[in-house]
Amino acid sequence: MKKFLFLLLTLIPIVTFAQFSSINPDTICYPAIGNSTYQVPNTPGYTYTWSVLAPGQITSGQGTNQITVDWSSANSGLIVNAVSVFATSNGCQSTPVSLNVFIYQVTPVINQIGAFCISDGCVNLSSSPVGGIFSGNGVQIGQFCPNLAGAGTHQITYTYQSGGCIFTTTIDVVVNPIPVLSPIQHN
C-alpha cells in the first residue's frame, strides 16, 4: 500500500499541462530565449493562417491552430498586432484575431563600491530599480562586508524580478589585505 501510494504521487507531476493565458499583450522577457507558443481553440475543418510581425519568425505550426515563434531578434518594446490569425472554412474567411507582444527589458544597476580594506566594516549596497536581491561572497542582508569576503576580487550579483522576468547584473568589488610590515631592523 505504501509503495502504491508513493508510485501514485510520483506520477502526478507528469500529467501537469502547460498553462496558457490570453492576457494581451503577451510579455516576452528580453532577450527572448527559445520559442513562444500561440494557439486558438481548434475547430475541425478549419485552416489557420498565421502572420507574425518581423523580427519574429514562425518556426512551426503554420496552417494549424498552434504555432511557435522565435522572438530572439526582437528589441525591447511593444509590438502592436504582433501575432495575427484568421481561419478559412469552405472558402469563407473569419475575422482576424490579433495579439500584441511586449518585449520586456529592465537593466538593473548596482552602484559601485570599494575598494575596501579587509578591516573595513560592512557597507550598504544600493541599486536601481530597488526591490531586487544581492548575492555573492561577503554579502549579508543587503550589505557587503569586506571582512566576511576576505581579500581579493569579489563578484556581487543583483537579481531583479518583474513581470515574470528575471534580470541580473554584476559588479566586481576589491578587498585589499592589511599591509604587513616586517619588524624594524637596527644596527
Binding site: F20, S22, Y38, T43, V83, V85, S89, Q93, T95
Partner: protein, 195 residues
C-alpha cells in the same frame, strides 16, 4: 389523329395554352429559414400528373433552372415512359429543339429515337391515360461564403417547343420549387492564448 392535326396546324394559331398537369415535389432535407448550408446535399423528387396536349403537343422534357448556389446536380431516377410508344426518358445537360432551335437543359427529356441519344429531334411522351411522371435529383450546395441563389425551377415542355413537333402552342411555364439562398457561415475563432 396526329396527321389530321398536321393539316389543321397550318391555320394561324398563336395563342399559347397551359398544358402542365398537377405538379408537386419534395425536398429532403427541408430548408431552414429558406436556406441551405454550403456543401449540403439536397434530394429533390418531382411529380407531374397529366399533361394537356394542346395542339397535339406531347410531353418532351422537364427543363431544370438552377441558381448559381448549386454546384452539382446528379440525376437519381428518371420518369417512366407512359405513352408506351417506344423511347425513354434520359438525363441530358443540353438539348436543342429541331423545331424551335431553342436550347434546354439540364433536365430529363424524352428520347424517342434511342439510336441518336438526341431528344431534341423527335416527339415526346404521349399522355395516353392521365400519366404520372416522376423523377428525383440530388443537388449539392456550393462552398461559397457570399449568399448565392438556390433557385430551383422545373419547366415542363411539349415536343413542339423542346422536340421536333411543328406546333409550339404549349407555353413554357416554370414551376417554382425553391427560391432560397445559401446560408452564409463565416468561421469564427477565439482569442489567441500563449504560454
Amino acid at each position: 389523329m396526329r396527321a389530321l392535326f398536321f393539316i389543321l396546324s397550318f391555320l394561324p394559331l398563336v395563342v399559347f395554352g397551359q398544358c402542365n398537369g398537377f405538379q408537386s415535389f419534395t425536398l429532403n432535407p427541408q430548408p431552414v429559414n429558406n436556406q441551405y448550408n454550403p456543401g449540403q446535399v439536397v434530394q429533390l423528387c418531382y411529380t407531374m400528373v397529366g399533361y394537356n396536349e394542346i395542339s397535339a403537343n406531347w410531353l418532351e422534357g422537364f427543363d431544370l433552372t438552377l441558381g448559381s448556389g448549386w454546384s452539382n446536380v446528379t440525376p437519381l431516377s428518371a420518369p417512366s415512359n407512359c405513352g408506351g410508344g417506344g423511347g425513354s426518358w434520359i438525363w441530358a445537360n443540353s438539348v436543342t429543339s429541331s423545331a424551335t432551335g431553342n436550347q434546354f437543359g439540364p433536365g430529363y427529356f424524352f428520347n424517342l429515337n434511342m439510336n441518336d441519344n438526341n431528344p431534341g429531334n423527335d416527339f415526346g411522351d404521349q399522355n395516353t391515360s392521365n400519366c404520372t411522371w416522376s423523377f428525383c435529383l440530388s443537388l449539392t450546395v456550393s462552398n461559397s461564403c457570399s449568399p448565392q441563389s438556390l433557385l430551383i425551377q422545373v419547366t415542363p415542355g411539349g415536343d413542339g417547343t423542346m422536340g421536333s413537333w411543328i406546333n409550339n402552342s404549349c407555353a413554357l411555364t416554370p414551376f417554382n420549387i425553391f427560391n432560397g439562398t445559401t446560408n452564409q457561415i463565416l468561421p469564427t475563432i477565439g482569442l489567441i492564448s500563449h504560454n
